[in-house]
Assembly symmetry: C2
Homo-oligomer: 395 residues x 2
């Protein structure tokens, strides 16, 4: 796959999230406007973050954004949690290129997650590479990036970091924690870890624990990264990461994020002239998968990909807590569980199981042919369900 | 992934096909016994094989096995066609280790494909690495293996090679062509290419043309191979093939051959002690995928994997023939189409489409949780459907 680094991105219109959002007609309500990333340290050597894997972090920077104002009681906060390769930038426009947030059509004044009445918080997860402490951060003990030596962490640690952030922001009770995919794991884990700090949660396109199928897909993605000679045991330079491996990992994942029908409708057996991309076939689908790999490589880090997918694979809300049905049965929060019938990665059966075991949950189906990625696409349906649910939380 | 080459296979019971067949209780009918691979050359410099891709092969060795006797009229022959990594060894026991054929429970005296009344032929496909001419064969012009220079070929070329073999064996009319997955492509293509030579066909777990989804999965598998430094543009030594890449390609494919439910039931979140396998996680599913990769590497060739998956991706029964429904509508053969509800690679919708467009086909469902691989597992159901169908062909 020579030449990948210098490859042109020939299909800027393909699944470009920013372009998708820019085209969205769900933004007729107000935007939160230009936003700024903020960073605070939520640990000190005297009060370090002790991770489930046994590691200890004396400092933990958290990159976050907030939209709207916290009320005097500190009870109108909503936490939105991003998925595997996401960031804190959930809403508004950021930076000189006015990049829209990943859920911008849903968050703003008058929108489903209404910033006129809610204080919305979005933070890059622990272990991420968008400003929160993770494998790309400098290890204070060595002065070099942690890389593969970043200590093992889990979704519970992500939640603890968010809890410290919210405490620092003056939030006393979360009205809702909302997320899809890995974000949905955080939502569930919030309810289980801090049941008294959160009044409701919304878990989208996720299950109570990672399945063998989902683990297997993450495993082959990690192996693709580690098989790249530039992986170098994770001790690559920031400017020389295993791009071929990370791109391939993303290509594998993209297939699982979409569906048979959506790829067939979009690409079928279309071909294009083979350029210098080093692809192994001339089918459009091959070019599409390659494109998404190249795009991710430009904005993400291989050690981070490995660390976060491991945290996802380890995820089991019942771990150390008892039988799954009992653990879920104890979560008495008002809950909304959403699933997508075409999702092959977290099939609807997983969401049905959640709804059956949670005592105060209801189910909402996102009708979408787009597979798992539907939770980043079906804004109109998401908006309707979220608006209704948030109106019910304190009713 | 260091150490892969020397790695022990620690789970000999996992999906070991020979072990599965040995345990099978569908072998109570007679076995065809010990079999021997035979090879003939079906091309000459004066009558070479002209490939759809434009290449020309002056000699084409075909490795094949036959079971049962050809009748005087040359009309009791049944051709069985293997899938991607299969071989001519479909029935009986082969070699000093008595390896059973891949469909041994279905082929033999008294079995569903009854060798007491049928002459069963099974051949390694063109481009394979089990005795038929392919990338591992010596190029007569250079005296070295073709490797990546083996000329491009398609499923139509596989069929032409089989046609020449059958002619040499004295077969005048094929009672049936039967195959699953890539074997099903050959069955369909036989009916389209040589409609007067074949009286019926059975296509299992396959569609009329390769989908974007299936192409995408093959694409990431090929990229895994080509990203391995030992790939070396395909010019590796036979003893030094890109094992990491080929093993990863197989691991990716294995996920698509199984199903969410079957992997969950079998592995769930089970873990094992991490040994020296270089795996990236301790989950059993990771070890299982690795195991199947190592197994394939021992018996298959990377250039062959790439060439055959390209032939599959190129497969479209209507290519150059007209509209798909019209092309299928012209195939008036008695046909049996089988599908598996848990097959995510060739979902049942593809088989339904075949049955709707073929004028003389009926559908049979293989009830199986095992996904695509069900056609190599559900022998009792396969036997019942095949026995009934073969009894109807000349009725």
């Amino acid at each position: 796959m020579k030449g990948e680094r210098g490859r042109r991105l020939v299909h800027e219109t393909w699944g470009d999230h920013a372009a998708l959002l820019a085209r969205s007609d769900h933004s007729r309500d107000g935007s939160v406007g230009l936003v700024q990333a903020k960073v605070i340290d939520v640990a000190t050597p005297a009060d370090p973050l002790r991770l489930v894997g046994g590691g200890v972090l004396p400092h933990v920077a958290v990159a976050y954004e907030t939209y709207g104002e916290l009320d005097a009681a500190g009870r109108n906060a909503v936490l939105v949690c991003h998925a595997l390769t996401g960031s804190a930038h959930a809403a508004g426009r950021l930076g000189p290129r006015d990049v829209p947030g990943w859920w911008d059509p849903l968050i703003g004044p008058g929108k489903a997650i209404d910033t006129a009445s809610h204080f919305v918080v979005s933070a890059n997860v622990l272990g991420g590479c968008y400003g929160t402490t993770g494998p790309t951060s400098l290890d204070p003990e060595t002065g070099r990036p942690y890389g593969p030596d970043f200590p093992a962490f889990g979704v519970r640690d992500m939640v603890e970091v968010q809890r410290r952030l919210l405490e620092a922001l003056g939030v006393r009770s979360l009205k809702a924690v909302i997320g899809g995919s890995m974000g949905g794991m955080q939502a569930l884990e919030w309810a289980a870890t801090c049941p008294d700090l959160v009044r409701s949660f919304v878990a989208i396109a996720v299950g109570a624990r990672h399945s063998a199928w989902a683990i297997g897909l993450n495993e082959v993605a990690r192996r693709a990264i580690m098989a790249d000679p530039r992986w170098a045991g994770g001790r690559y330079a920031a400017t020389d990461q295993p791009e071929t491996g990370l791109g391939l990992a993303r290509a594998i994942a993209m297939l699982s994020y979409r569906s048979f029908d959506s790829l067939e409708a979009r690409f079928g057996r279309e071909r294009r002239a083979l350029g210098d991309e080093g692809l192994s076939s001339s089918f459009e689908i091959a070019s599409y998968l390659d494109y998404h790999g190249v795009k991710l490589v430009r904005r993400f880090d291989a050690n981070t990909y490995i660390a976060l997918t491991r945290a996802m694979d380890d995820y089991d809300v019942a771990e150390g807590r008892g039988r799954l049905d009992e653990v879920l049965g104890a979560l008495r929060h008002k809950a909304l569980v959403m699933g997508i019938p075409s999702d092959v990665l977290y099939p609807e059966a997983e969401q049905h199981r959640l709804v059956e075991a949670l005592p105060n949950a209801r189910y909402a189906r996102l009708a979408s042919p787009h597979g798992h990625d539907g939770f980043l696409i079906e804004f109109a349906q998401l908006a309707a369900h979220l608006r209704r649910f948030l109106a019910e939380v304190d009713a």
